[in-house]
């Protein structure tokens, strides 16, 4: 009997033990880090992974809502939480505390040297590494600007390392960013062609360097870096049509230094739909404020306070043309109709579903909605393929001017740089002169106004508020919209009621808000992270 029992067990063993071992499974649809890194294609794919999501058009478009340029009416989107002074570690509102791109770049940089030289020559490898180093530096520049001190991770970490890492001083992060940018610039090409257009260029590295230098009051360095960009081998120049800079058919134009590249369907952007007025099926998530509208000069080159011809009840007449190119306002002729957020029957009426709470919508990238309706650049505004600009040449010119002013090196080049921007063919604002703006103080006021007008809706205003320390003025009190009244549907004529502005919200600002709170969940996981003061 014993014998039979043994036979039976043996039979079972045979039955279950045949074929390959079912325990030796391995991933069926994913590559392994062990087998990657053998070819140029491998390296290219990994670098593309670093580019994927490196920056989002959403940030560029939405970020003005954390400034006095705009307001986001939907509390769940988080922007107003920060802008109104309610941000707390548990609920920071907006969150830029992300290392995803940084760790992708670290992974690429930690591994790319495994690819044999026979498969990837050193020149190309160096360029590719420089691209990844740029993307990493870009992220650190934002992190340090928003949070101050942040952990500095330059290699892939283990979970234990990630959960015990401490914050490095902001100066160390900034120094690292600037050194990196200086170091990689020479190995990056000035331009690309064909399907490489959109990769990081030498100009992008220097432009970011100039921006970081300006943001960190390194004016001498900023001046030098900016000057490099104004001369050969670079050939950046202003695109003549201000509104056209942002139209998708003009992607990668001569003014663009750095942008996020999109492609409809496969790598599409949706954020333009969120910006659009209700009557065109949009959400009006980002609404320009009266404060922004008021910041534009009159056609005479004066502020509305200075210009006696300014009529508060016809506030959009005779203004800097950049206002009409940036803000969809009551009575503006837009897409064949006069925009009307004031009349009771209008679907854009302030207060209506998805209508702007201020009576204004942003217009950049949306000069003509048809650019995206079943064209090469989109199926509609929710699925677009045009690039979203991160750095353009006008910012460099204005940054140069500002650095010179702050360094008190006021010379003709300052006025020249500002006037280049003000007098681009479609803008044609009166030139600024030493007569009108003779000294540092007056120029400082001018350059800040000019910067706001030129770059509104491009996600830079918060950084300006932060470094100019004007939060207390810019981010407190009522957030006002347009005056109430009516729009004549056939002529676009406005009838407005004095002092009747819509109020879209109320903000308070505290000095602690110059830095954002480190999200509490990060501190909950990593007890070594200390919170920013005041939170």
């Amino acid at each position: 009997m014993k014998k039979k029992l043994i036979y039976i067990i043996l039979a079972t063993a045979v039955l279950t033990g045949c074929k390959k071992d079912v325990l030796d499974t391995k991933p069926l649809d994913k590559y392994s880090n062990l087998t990657l890194w053998s070819s140029k294609a491998d390296a290219n794919a990994a670098l593309t992974g670093c580019y994927s999501g490196w920056e989002l058009g959403d940030n560029v478009i939405y970020d003005d809502c954390i400034s006095d340029n705009g307001i986001d009416q939907f509390p769940w989107e988080g922007y107003e939480t920060f802008a109104s002074g309610l941000a707390s570690p548990s609920d920071p509102g907006v969150n830029k505390y992300s290392y995803t791109t940084i760790q992708r770049c670290n992974w690429f940089l930690d591994n790319v040297d495994k690819v044999p030289v026979s498969a990837l020559d050193n020149t190309l490898k160096t360029r590719m590494k420089s691209e990844a180093r740029f993307l990493r530096a870009y992220k650190y520049a934002i992190l340090s600007q928003v949070y101050g001190d942040v952990p500095l991770a330059l290699h892939n970490l283990t979970a234990d390392q990630a959960n015990t890492i401490t914050r490095s001083p902001k100066t160390q992060i900034v120094d690292f960013v600037l050194q990196e940018l200086a170091s990689i610039a020479p190995s990056l090409p000035v331009s690309y062609s064909g399907s490489d257009i959109g990769r990081i260029t030498r100009g992008a590295a220097l432009a970011l360097k100039a921006r970081v230098e300006l943001f960190n009051a390194k004016y001498t360095e900023c001046i030098a870096t900016s000057q490099q960009l104004m001369t050969g081998p670079f050939s950046y120049s202003l695109f003549p049509d201000y509104e056209g800079i942002f139209r998708p058919q003009n992607s990668n134009n001569q003014e663009v230094i750095l942008d996020v590249q999109y492609l409809q369907n496969d790598n599409a952007e949706w954020v333009l739909g969120a910006a659009l007025p209700n009557s065109y099926g949009g959400w009006s998530s980002m609404a320009p404020t009266q404060s922004l509208v008021d910041a534009y000069e009159t056609k005479n080159g004066k502020t509305i306070q200075q210009d006696g011809s300014y009529n508060a009840l016809q506030p959009y007449s005779n203004r800097d043309p950049r206002l009409d190119a940036t803000v969809i306002h009551p009575g503006l002729s837009y897409m064949g109709a006069y925009f009307d957020p004031l009349s009771a029957t209008s679907s854009d009426l302030v207060g209506n579903n998805n209508a702007s709470p201020t009576g204004y919508n942003f217009k950049k990238y949306l000069a003509n909605i048809d650019d995206y309706n079943n064209t090469a650049y989109g199926t509609d505004v929710w699925n677009t393929g045009g690039s979203i600009i991160v750095i353009r040449y006008a910012e460099i010119l204005l940054g140069y001017a500002e650095a010179k002013i702050e360094a008190n090196q006021i010379d003709a080049s300052v006025y020249n740089a500002i006037n280049q921007v003000r007098q681009r063919p479609t803008v044609n604002m009166p030139a600024v002169t030493a007569a009108l703006y003779p000294d540092q103080a007056s120029l400082r006021v001018l350059i800040r106004r000019e910067r706001r007008a030129e770059l509104a809706g491009e996600g830079l205003r918060w950084y300006d508020i932060q470094r100019w320390k004007i939060g207390e003025q810019a981010l407190s009190g009522d957030v006002k919209g347009s005056l109430k009244g009516s729009v004549n549907a056939t002529t676009g004529a406005l009838t407005l009621t004095p002092n009747s502005n819509f109020v879209a919200g109320n903000r308070t600002f505290d000095a602690k808000n110059y830095l954002w709170p480190i999200p509490q969940k990060e501190i909950d996981i990593n007890h070594a992270l200390k919170q920013n003061p005041g939170y």
């Binding site: 991933p27 580019y51 992708r104 579903n353 009522d478």
Partner: protein, 1127 residues
């Protein structure tokens, strides 16, 4: 393998010793169906007659059945003896003293046996000298004949089964005992005298310990169970309109907790937790779900037609489930389907049909109040008012002719259907002594309360058992399920849930339809537009289950059972999303000017396929030596499963008419596909030993190797031992037997494992593809680090101990079981909590690796179940109840508190407890605010005051505390069923208690078009209502918001008691039925989820508790009429 076998053998030996030692210190109770012989007292005298005659008379006097070999006992004479009112054992001892014979108590009376013999009652079929006679009869119960009842001649191998009409015919000798038994009835024994007709009335058994219980890889008499096993019979499920098997077992077994989060047809399966949360929750950790084994093959609850179920066993403790070691740490559910029975062809038809309705709906305020409250919130926050007084008046009186000021009841518009459901089942079975078959065909059709929501099931089951030769048996099963599912989908964020969410969130102030016919909409679109559009999501699911098993018995008591199981689950999806053009609304006649366009239309075709194979061999051997009864089982199995998915999508169809891929352009098309697999190898065994059916011992072991772990960490060892002591069989207990009819003590210890993590390849550092970017309008595909790897990953371990008592009282009418358990999970498998620095933020980010957390969690609990059965004349009734109390606590956690949004866990708290601020009330005045710590600078009178726990002058994350436990500590079920003549009534209640819930999703919100508040907001703080129960209104402020600022203010008791089912049935009189040529006809009403008692928000199903959301498709209330016909 050889080495493994050696280890295995050593292991059995070791376990045996441990188990025997445990048996000495621990024990069990049992019930004896036959009266205990020690309670029998007799007065009798003997005068040298043969033992045969002596026992004959003794049997008459004592009214106890005796089993003995007539031939042998005829040769021996008794001494002269006289007894007056003496206990039977003493009488027997006196008679047998000096003979070769001894007595023992058998299942069915006293057995006299020769001592030198290795007595095996069942093999002891000595030929009798008496002439056999043929006995005929009919076996029935109160309701009519019972087919398939086993009729055995006791002590012989002879037997038969009753036919379809309950009749049997068997040859037996005078003096032999006929044993009538079948599942669900008390076994009855009748001694053959001279009668040739024996009609037997069987009594239904309640919780009978004679019952056989299905356990891992076999069966066990309930009386001999040493582990904690809960059982559910087909009776508990029959005639209830349950759409999913999980709902059918809710509340039926102590310690089994089930929550159902949605009533959507096809998606209403509940979540099952046995004896608490044993491991990580959701995708973050190893699965906490029990393993479901259907006829020996792992499967899914949803695959089984509730009508096909013979019985369900729930293995709750390590002792009973260790034989499934690898995947048993959260319990095992064993489902046995119905099999054919010997007898004529039997045909049964069952059906029910009826409407269903949504159980609970939020009581959102009317539009004018929604508008008023939003204005108030705006005012509180210093923003312009949204609505004028005129607007509010128009909402109130509904006089606006344009449709701009409606009071839209979105919920009624979306939940607009009656929702019929019906179920039909045909069951044909039969067989002879050698082969038995069962064919079951089922059809289930459920239409939901939202248009186009539907789920159908076409079930077919074939079960065949055949005894090919006396030594070789074969059984085969083929199950087939075709289940088409359909639901409408939204165009925005394509899903069905989005439609329900829309209905529950869009304000009543938004018109559903303007007077000019244009649909009203919000930023996401309109749920009504989505519902009216041709969009749909359809799945055709096919599941085939098959298994073939042999049973070769080369020797008496030895069985070798190889088996092969296969499961193929195939799904085909077709999802069409139409584009939707919205228009500008206005008064009647206003031209339809296009506004918002939701596009593009698109079609997705997807298939998924899971195949699962099981190869298994089991050998068992049973041997009785005197009073020592042994059973040994040894087996090995191998499982392998692979999952495949493929989908293709195209968009921009010219219109919404065609819904095939080729009708759309290739531009913008996309595809995706993936696969994953896993394997498991196992060796297992079990030893059962009992002495005289009084001392019970069981030892189990299992080794499992899982493909989810790297070599060297793969194999887990899972041992368990348990013991039982039937105290009531001890001599010293005799005096107590009148009060306590039976008493059994059980104890168990065991170790189990868990490897069921979502990532099948957690030890590989994987790279994720498909990370795209485009350069100059050219798409490039990239790679990024995917899942973090942990090559050291190994089994999560659960050690559990348990003790239990089973007792019966009041003439066996009351039976009670009591269990205590402690389950300790150590080194739980969880995804590492990792900060953003690791690259974990964002949607396509790096996923941190799984780890075996250096921590421990304990679930402790008590389970009580009791049943009482009695009758008063023709009125019969029984009451069954079960109750469980489970306390979960994290006992060790290296690295400290783990916070996950509004829940956390730490040493000393339950796993994932509610987390937030302690609310102290509402600031009545501005003066009260000053000098208190506040959350932000907008806090003012009317806001909730929070406690500054650390007195640092501010309210921040440091002030958050434990706010309660959202997993119910107490769960219970209570059923009452009764019969009177042809009527039956049963009620079933189920409930949970000691559970807290907190949720921002439960009360609605004040806001513009996409928010609406419920009635709780009405008693809000205002300067004139400072004693309000609710804080001042907010929209963008966070200080009172239950989601943004969770606090004890929002924590509520989510206990409930629910009348889960009422069934009222009438069985047509036999003469009427027989005239129709039928055997039995029963008509009934059955209602499901009829009443709920709770102090929770009255519009939310309290069963959901913290997991609840106003945005869920609620559970449904079902009323049905049904019919059972036996032909």
């Amino acid at each position: 393998m050889n080495q493994k076998l050696q280890t295995l053998t050593r292991r059995i030996a070791k376990l045996g010793i441990v188990a025997m030692l445990s048996a000495v210190s621990l024990g069990t109770w049992a019930i004896n169906r036959i009266q205990d012989i020690r309670t029998v007292k007799v007065s009798i005298s003997f005068n040298g007659e043969t033992l045969e005659k002596a026992f004959g008379r003794l049997s008459e006097v004592s009214k106890m059945p005796f089993n003995y070999n007539h031939n042998e006992l005829r040769k021996i004479s008794t001494k002269q003896l006289a007894f007056k009112n003496e206990p039977l054992p003493q009488v027997l001892n006196a008679i047998l003293n000096g003979t070769q014979f001894q007595y023992k108590e058998g299942e069915s009376g006293v057995i006299i046996f020769k001592t030198e013999e290795k007595h095996d009652q069942r093999t002891n079929s000595t030929v009798s000298a008496a002439d056999p006679i043929t006995i005929k009869g009919i076996v029935s119960d109160n309701a009519g004949p019972i087919p398939g009842v086993s009729v055995m001649v006791k002590g012989t191998g002879k037997g038969t089964l009753t036919a379809g009409d309950g009749s049997f015919s068997i040859r037996a000798e005078k003096g032999e005992v006929l044993v009538f038994s079948t599942l669900g009835y008390k076994t009855k024994e009748i001694t053959v005298d001279n009668q040739t007709t024996i009609n037997v009335l069987l009594e239904a058994s309640v919780n009978s310990l004679e019952d056989v219980v299905v356990v891992g890889y076999g069966q066990q008499k309930k009386i001999n169970l040493t582990g904690a096993v809960g059982t559910i019979s087909s009776k508990d499920i029959d005639n209830r309109p349950v759409t999913n098997l999980t709902n059918a077992i809710q509340g039926k077994v102590a310690g089994v907790n089930i929550t159902t989060s949605t009533g959507q047809p096809g998606r209403d399966a509940g979540t099952i937790r046995i004896r608490g949360i044993g491991t990580g929750l959701g995708s973050g950790g190893a699965s906490a779900a029990p393993i479901v084994i259907i006829d020996g093959v792992p499967g899914a609850m949803g695959d089984v037609n509730p009508n096909d179920i013979e019985n369900i066993s729930v293995l709750k403790d390590a002792a009973s489930s260790a034989i499934y070691g690898a995947r048993a740490s959260n319990g095992v559910i064993l489902i046995t389907t119905k099999k054919g029975k010997e007898g004529g062809v039997q045909l049964k038809y069952d059906m029910y049909a009826g409407p269903q309705q949504i159980m609970k709906q939020p009581d959102f305020l009317p539009s004018w109040q929604q508008a008023l409250l939003y204005n108030e919130a705006r005012a509180n926050e210093g923003a312009s008012l949204r609505w004028s007084d005129t607007d509010i008046q128009l909402f109130k009186d509904g006089s606006d002719q344009t449709g701009a000021h409606p009071n839209t009841d979105w919920i009624s518009l979306i939940f607009s259907e009656t929702g019929w459901q019906q179920n039909h089942n045909v069951n044909i079975s039969g067989g002879d002594q050698k082969s038995k078959y069962l064919v079951s065909l089922g059809y289930f059709d459920q239409n939901g309360n939202v248009k186009e929501t539907r789920y159908q099931k076409y079930n077919a089951l074939f079960n065949v058992n055949s005894q090919l030769t006396p030594k070789l048996g074969l059984s085969a099963k083929l199950g087939f399920l075709y289940a088409p599912f359909s639901e409408p989908v939204s165009t925005y964020a394509t899903s069905f849930g989005q439609i329900i969410r829309g209905a529950n969130r869009i304000s009543n102030t938004v018109p559903a339809r303007w007077e000019n016919g244009a649909l009203g909409y919000v930023s996401d679109g309109s749920p009504l537009a989505w519902l009216e559009s041709p969009s749909f999501n359809k799945w055709q699911n096919y599941t085939i289950n098959g298994n073939v098993a042999g049973d070769w018995s080369p020797l008496q008591g030895l069985h070798f059972k190889p088996s092969f199981g296969y499961r193929l689950a195939l799904g085909q999806q077709q999802q069409y999303v139409s584009d939707i053009q919205y228009y500008k609304g206005g008064a009647a006649g206003t031209p339809l000017t296009p506004t918002k366009l939701e596009s593009p239309n698109n079609l997705t075709n997807a298939t998924d396929r899971t195949t699962y194979t099981l190869l298994q061999g089991v050998a068992d051997y049973e041997k009785n030596i005197g009073k020592h009864n042994f059973k040994v089982l040894i087996g090995a199995s191998q499982e392998y499963s692979i999952y495949n998915y493929f989908s293709a999508q195209r968009q921009n169809f010219l219109n919404n008419e065609l819904t095939q891929i080729n009708a759309a352009p290739a531009l913008g098309q996309s595809t995706s596909g993936y696969a994953n697999d896993w394997g498991l190898k196992s060796v297992f065994g079990r030893l059962n030993y009992n002495f005289n059916e009084k001392y019970l011992l069981e030892a189990n072991f299992r080794f499992d190797g899982s493909s989810r772990f790297a070599k060297g960490h793969r194999w887990g060892k899972f041992p368990a031992v348990s013991a039982g002591w039937i105290i009531s069989k001890e001599d010293f207990f005799a005096g107590a037997l009148n009060a306590v009819n039976s008493l059994k003590l059980r104890a168990s210890w065991g170790k189990l494992g868990n490897q069921q993590i979502a990532n099948n390849y957690a030890y590989f550092e994987s790279i994720t593809g498909g990370q795209t970017y485009s350069f100059n309008q050219t798409l490039v595909t990239g790679l990024t680090p995917g899942d973090g790897a942990n090559p050291l990953l190994q089994w999560e371990k659960t050690q559990s101990i348990g003790v239990g008592i089973d007792a019966t009282f009041l003439d066996n009418k009351l039976d009670v079981s009591l269990d205590y358990f402690e389950k300790k999970t150590s080194n739980p498998l969880l995804r590492t909590q990792a900060g953003a620095v690791l690259g974990t933020s964002g949607t396509t980010s790096f996923v941190p690796p799984y780890v075996n957390v250096d921590g421990e969690m304990v679930n402790k609990g008590i389970e009580v179940s009791a049943g009482y059965k009695n009758n008063a004349g023709e009125f019969t009734y029984n009451i069954n109840g079960n109750f469980s109390f489970t306390k979960n606590e994290v006992t060790k956690l290296t690295g400290g508190k783990v916070i996950n949004d509004n829940t956390f866990y730490d040493v000393g708290t339950p796993f994932y407890s509610l987390y937030g601020y302690e609310a102290l009330g509402i600031y009545k005045t501005q003066a009260a605010v000053t000098e208190t710590a506040v959350l932000n600078n907008k806090v003012a009178a009317g806001d909730i005051q929070y406690k500054d726990q650390n007195n640092d002058g501010k309210i921040d994350a440091q002030d958050k505390v434990y706010l309660g436990n959202y997993y119910p500590k107490i769960a219970y079920g209570l059923s009452f069923s009764s019969g009177w003549k042809n009527f039956e009534l049963s009620l079933f209640f189920q409930g949970a208690a000691a559970v807290k819930a907190m949720g921002g999703n439960l009360i609605g919100r004040v806001g513009p078009d996409v928010e609406k508040p419920t009635s709780v907001f009405l008693d809000r703080w205002t300067p004139t209502n400072t004693d309000a129960s609710f804080p001042r209104l907010w929209y963008s402020y966070k200080q009172n918001d239950p989601t943004g600022t969770p606090s004890s203010f929002w924590v509520k008791d989510a206990s409930y008691l629910r009348l889960k089912n009422v069934t009222f049935a009438y069985t047509l009189p036999k003469n009427v039925v027989n005239r129709l040529g039928l055997n039995k006809v029963k008509v009934y009403y059955s209602g499901q989820n009829l009443l709920t008692f709770t102090s929770f928000y009255k519009w939310i199903d309290p069963e959901l508790g913290s997991a609840g959301s106003i945005n869920n498709y609620p559970q449904v209330l079902v009323n049905t009429l049904g019919l059972n016909v036996t032909f």
